[in-house]
Every structure is written in C-alpha cells, then in structure tokens.
C-alpha cells in the first residue's frame, strides 16, 4: 500500500472544508482530501464530526449549484452533479464518520461560545474546534482564515492541522 499523502492519526476531527473538497473535487485540494477520506474509509483512523457538518455541507453544495452565471464556467455545477456529491456524502457519513451532537452538548456548546468571543471565529467553526479541544485531537482543515484567527490562542493553534494545497 503506498504511503498516504497525509497520514492521519488514530483519531481526528474533520472540518467541513475537507469533506467538501472531497465531494466536489476542489482544485488544489482534491488529492489531499481523497487521501484523508480513503484512510478513514480504510479504518486507519476514526473521524469525528459534529452533526452541524451537514448544515455546512448543504450550504457549500447550494453555493456550488447557484454560482452566478458570470462565474458558472469556473464554479457552477449542474443539479445532477450536486445531487451526486450529496449522495456520496450520505454514504460517507453513514458508514465512516462518527456524527456527534453539538448544540445541545454543554461540553462543546460552552467552549464554542468562549472561542467565538475570544477569537472571533464563526460559530460553526467554533464547534469543530471545541470538539477537537475536548477530545484532545487535531482538527484537520483547509480553512486558512480559521487557522489565522485561531493562532492567537496557543492551545487552539496546537489543535489545528492546516492541510496545504496538493503538490
């Protein structure tokens, strides 16, 4: 078996940016995302995600679909392609991702609130970070903005793994 592009740890939290890059074959990210998802599928590591991953994924899917006509040639996708990505995500989440509740869980809810206030990161992002902190594992993400904002907090910075562009 070839050495994976990004060997994953035994446990990790996956950011929505990773599954979106995988499902929609995002340029510059797809090879890395495929490497990570394939390892999760093969059981090399356990991937945890908050249930609100679905809300973020749907938002991203809707944006892929409804890109402006001016941008459609480079960004827009047809309805069947978006539905296809949605089906792939359904199968991925049913079999290989551990979905965790977030908004009703005090442990992550309160930490996410603290992180949002302290670092100015988005609420959704804060729940992913809070989950990673709670479990003491890394959050793997393509989100440079999140990593930049989070760099103000040493504990958060250490829990983030920014995945670079494909090489």
């Amino acid at each position: 078996m070839p050495v994976p592009l990004h060997p994953i740890p035994a446990e990790l939290v996956l950011d929505t940016s990773v599954v979106v890059a995988w499902a929609f074959k995002e340029h510059g990210r797809v090879a890395s995302a495929e490497s990570i998802i394939s390892q999760v599928q093969a059981g090399s590591g356990r991937a945890y995600v908050p249930e609100l991953l679905w809300a973020e994924f749907q938002q991203a899917a809707e944006r892929k679909l409804h890109a402006s006509w001016a941008a459609r040639d480079r960004l827009g996708l047809s309805q069947p392609h978006v539905e296809s990505a949605y089906q792939s995500m359904l199968q991925l989440s049913a079999a290989w991702l551990t979905m965790l509740p977030t908004l009703v869980e005090p442990a992550t809810r309160d930490e996410a609130w603290r992180l949002r206030l302290a670092l100015g990161i988005a609420s959704y992002d804060a729940h992913f970070v809070a989950l990673a902190l709670l479990y003491g594992v890394e959050l793997w993400t393509f989100d440079q903005r999140l990593c930049s904002l989070a760099s103000a907090d040493a504990r958060v910075r250490q829990s983030l793994r920014l995945i670079g562009v494909d090489v």
């Binding site: 890059a21 995002e26 510059g28 599928q41 356990r46 509740p101 393509f142 989100d143």
Partner: protein, 106 residues
C-alpha cells in the same frame, strides 16, 4: 475506568448472535461516545450510531449506554459495494474551485 459494564460479554454475545450493552461513566454524552467507540474498536465491534446515548442509573452509578455488535461479513461487503459506487460516481464529477467562505460569511 470509563467503560464500567458490558453485557453480555462479547464472546457470549457473539455465540448468542445478539448485540451487547456497553456502559460508560464518562461525564457527558460525547465523551461517552468516544470511549465506547474506542472500546468497540479494540474488540473488533461496531457501535450502533446513536448520537444521544440513553442515561441510566445502575449499580455502577450513572452511566451512558451504547449498543454494540459484531458486524456480519455482509455488512463489510455492503460497505465495499457502497464505496465502489461512491468512487464510480465521483468519476463524472468535474473539478471545482474551492469555496472558502463558511455559512456565516455568506
């Protein structure tokens, strides 16, 4: 020790062809899920994918109960088929431009 009780024992459950209860005394739901997931992996078992575990008071104290089972070969075969389907479906997906902005910035 977060896993405080298992019933029946995995070997017995396997022999009987039944799932088993795995009780964790972790302090909250998502910590309990993680502990039960870890325990299942060590045993070669799978956890039923509940996201809210039932909480109950037992002789071992307040616990959260997960349901685990030994996946039959057919489940693995089905997953392989599904993964092959995912890979087939992805062949026709065009490459797209990354979308970085999350739902709150749109």
């Amino acid at each position: 020790m977060p896993i405080v009780h298992v019933y029946p024992e995995p070997e017995e459950a396997h022999r009987m062809g039944v799932p088993l209860f795995v009780d964790s005394n972790a302090e909250d739901n998502i910590r309990a899920i993680r502990e039960i997931e870890r325990w299942c992996r060590e045993q070669g078992l799978a956890r039923a994918q509940e996201s809210h575990l039932r909480t109950l008071r037992t002789e071992h104290g307040l616990v959260r109960r997960g349901i685990c089972y030994r996946p039959p070969p057919a489940e693995y075969e089905q997953r392989e088929l599904e993964w092959a389907e995912v890979l087939r479906r992805r062949e026709s997906m065009p490459e797209t431009v990354p979308t970085d902005d999350g739902p709150e910035s749109g």
